[in-house]
Symmetry: C2
Subunit: 121 residues, 2 copies
């Protein structure tokens, strides 16, 4: 079952760091494909904001000659939101708190996104 | 002269790394306050995309409980665009190529944004 495989990848990703508060696989039109949201973030809201950021991120990368968009990171004083292309149809969104080590998060998220890409062929 | 001080900060930032292709100070409504764009990027385009990304980044940080937005990063396969709050009225946008070391860029850009904040009080 693909749904279970996606959930399993997300559960593993969540387990790599206590600073990851939530993660989700979202279709490029903003619909939830799988999610781990123990901290009560609203799934629809995460989906909608991810789709909007990605769409604008893609346009920004193109307009400013940065090639194909791979990731968008938003840093607030209370944490991070990292959106990563997982396949041509889906994105992996991770919400982390302010203690998160960005280098580690980038590394683990890239790995998880590759696994998701293999599930969603 | 503030314009000269801003230009000087941008010139220094550009000089910290050969991987920084362009940088600019942009008002939150997308107008150029100062710019170093030797690679022929269009100023209006950089201003417009920065303002749009920041506005959506701010909303995303707020909706997903990440506090006050500080930075937005877009990573493409040909490089990075990093937008950093410099003051309540202005943002520092940096366009870098794919060889850029993100840790160093973050460090230098944060320093330059603080200097810009002191000019635009």
């Amino acid at each position: 079952m693909r749904a279970e495989m996606l959930t399993s990848i997300l559960r593993n990703l969540n387990g790599t760091s206590a600073d990851i508060e939530a993660c989700a696989v979202i279709s490029i039109d903003g619909l939830m494909m799988a999610a781990q949201m123990p901290h009560g973030l609203d799934e629809d809201r995460v989906g909608a904001m991810s789709a909007a950021m990605l769409s604008l991120g893609e346009r920004t990368a193109k307009e400013l000659a940065r090639g194909v968009m791979e990731q968008v990171l938003v840093k607030g004083d209370k944490g991070y939101i990292l959106m990563t292309n997982a396949s041509k149809d889906a994105v992996l969104t991770v919400v982390a708190n302010a203690n998160a080590r960005l280098g580690l998060i980038f590394f683990d998220v890239r790995k998880a996104a590759d696994e998701i890409g293999k599930v969603l062929v």
